[in-house]
Symmetry: C2
Subunit: 391 residues, 2 copies
């Protein structure tokens, strides 16, 4: 079997997301690690009634690879495009996987932000991309750095960004940077991938107009606004890319569950309900974000800095006192609190000065408990054994 | 964009399945083309009650990549293995895709039957496999031919078979051939992939003991026994393969819908209901198979031969009178009946003497209508225009 396994070694990549998901299942763990929506934000009753209403044999049968037509139409309307520009996928993650497989060849350059979403880096590693990570700051990806690298000959096939409430940094790409990024990508002939799972979760500040470029694909999902368990996402892009991804998806899994597409559609196009639901979860997350960042500031004071949180699920904490987040992580897990060290989001293991904390999954009181556990001093070393001590 | 599109041209492959699915959507079409279960076989009410019972926030949240634990346990019990040997996938198709991506490198040899399931060939083409198609007969893949090729130096990484009620031929691999195939694959160091979506749909004849080999992965699905729209399937294989496929699946789409997994599990482990349901659909398909093959024999007589149909969804019709099934297909679609020409299932466009007809999707009276349309003589050429005729 050694022959068969030779490919596996090269494909192993990071399995940290998976390990983290396992970790968060420990019942005693206060987890700030996952990117899970609040349990309270999951519209169980509304989904039950959608299911009862939507369920017929059509929803149980094979369906078109492109997705349920009415759901594609809903997404197309929202983005001001036509149905042919939309492919429904198993969450945003599958959209990223299909895009990478369609566009990137072994050795091609792909640009990501640093730090970057783990799942995107894995997808790009799996297709053999040569990944160039460009530093980001409080305005998002640093376009000057990218421009310099392109000037020096970098030829990316694909540029991947999370434009709103970035994972892990929470940062939103500024309007100025959006324009510059679109220009750079266009001149370089690169496909711009705008992964936007969090854009609708803005609870403070002003929205920034979406990225626009001739060769741009937007990736969306219901995971953060309805329910991740549905596994319904989409891409909106140029027909040549949609066609290629449809062909790949056909061989990959035929199509996304007709049933969960119908459920998602029923909720999305119930405009009044959906608007109310979004207002509710934005309020929920606003409160949790303030609670978490407030508690962190209380306990850690000027040992940390936290970028202002205007939406999404994450607070990005930077330790100003030399704390190594990787080491803190090990101590924290032992004390029953989990987060994701910043180094998990970089290709070179950098950003050990930072940590991603999800404020969405825990109610406010538990968030405060979690910060208490995080801030606890390590226990004193055990006293030396008494002389002549027993077993 | 020409650069970006260069990879697409190589990846385009066949999109015939997709075109066929579109074709079957025409309301006037009597389709024997798809591999769709009967509408009457879809347990709508039972799924509705499963959903109402199973739906809680757990089913709406992110879940483990490996799949819902209890569903994995159910599948493991059925196959006499442990939970660690099971990965839940989006239908059987995703299992094939993950296995191929985990095991096959560009240029590696993969063996399939000829004719073979289109979706498997596409998966193998997408990973750059060098596909060797081995002729099959009424006992399934011809192991003597495979043995000869291995003797002459063929070194397959993977051997793919549909062991029960093959798609498209309906043939079941004989017990003798199963033993021989396992031996050949084992000696050659190849992974044996046993794709078995139809095994539970036996309505005549005796079951054959399952394939057994040290390096074997079984692929299963609820698509043919419950509902394809759920998109729930699985693979059961050695831990090294499961681990590799879990890592790939994590980057591919994180996990299969928790919701549809919970629904599938609720139905599968309701043992009495499931046994009754299987008995019902076996009876339904027995009747439809007999109706279709009977009508074909009535209308076509000794112009065709049909292998005995003991289960599954398909009848494989061979034309003994020189009929070209590709040409018949074009005429048939014009007359409002669709099937899949045999050449769609071969890599070299061979088997134009044969056709795959699905008996499952239409009620008996419509099956007879479909055969009538298929058997209709082409209309006579239009009469010459009258002299001095108008516009």
């Amino acid at each position: 079997m050694e022959d068969l396994r030779s490919k596996l070694a090269r494909n192993s990549g990071s399995s940290r997301i998976r390990e983290l998901l396992h970790l968060t299942e420990r019942p005693d763990m206060l987890s700030l690690a996952g990117g899970l929506p609040a349990t309270e934000a999951l519209p169980v009753d509304r989904i039950r009634s959608a299911f009862t209403a939507a369920l017929d044999t059509r929803g149980l049968q094979y369906g078109p690879t492109e997705g349920v037509h009415d759901l594609r139409e809903y997404v197309a309307d929202r983005h001001g495009v036509t149905v042919g520009d939309v492919l429904i996928t198993n969450g945003a993650q599958q959209a990223l996987d299909l895009i990478a497989r369609a566009v990137v060849d072994d050795g091609d350059v792909a640009v990501v932000e640093s730090p970057a979403y783990l799942g995107a880096s894995q997808v790009l590693q799996n297709v053999g991309a040569s990944i160039t990570a460009i530093a980001s700051d409080d305005d998002g990806l640093d376009t000057r750095v990218l421009q310099e690298m392109v000037d020096r000959g970098l030829r990316p096939k694909l540029v991947y960004v999370v434009s709103n409430f970035h994972n892990p940094t929470g940062v939103t790409l500024s309007a100025l940077r959006r324009g510059e990024l679109a220009e750079i990508a266009t001149r370089a002939g690169a496909l711009l991938v705008d992964d936007d799972p969090y854009g609708e979760l803005r609870f403070a500040g002003q929205p920034v107009p979406p990225l626009a470029a001739p060769s741009l694909v937007r990736v969306g999902t219901v995971s953060k606004v309805l329910a991740p368990g549905l596994r319904v996402g989409w891409m909106v892009g140029p027909p040549w890319l949609i066609d290629a991804c449809v062909r790949l998806k056909q061989a990959t899994d035929l199509h996304t569950s007709t049933l969960t597409q119908c459920v998602a559609l029923d909720l999305l196009r119930d405009a009044d309900w959906f608007a109310e639901h979004l207002a509710f979860i934005r309020g929920l997350y606003r409160e949790r974000a303030h609670t978490l960042t407030g508690a962190l500031t209380d306990r850690f004071g000027d040992r940390i800095t936290i970028a202002p949180v205007h939406g999404g699920l994450f607070a990005w904490v930077r330790f100003a006192d030399g704390t190594d987040a990787d080491e803190l992580f090990a101590r924290a897990v032992a004390r029953g609190v989990a987060f994701v060290p910043g180094s998990s989001f970089t290709l070179d293991g950098g950003r050990r000065d930072a940590a991603r904390l999800c404020f969405a999954s825990l109610p406010p009181a538990r968030l405060v408990d979690a910060v208490d556990r995080l801030a606890a001093r390590p226990p004193p070393p055990p006293p030396p054994p008494p002389p002549g001590g027993g077993f």
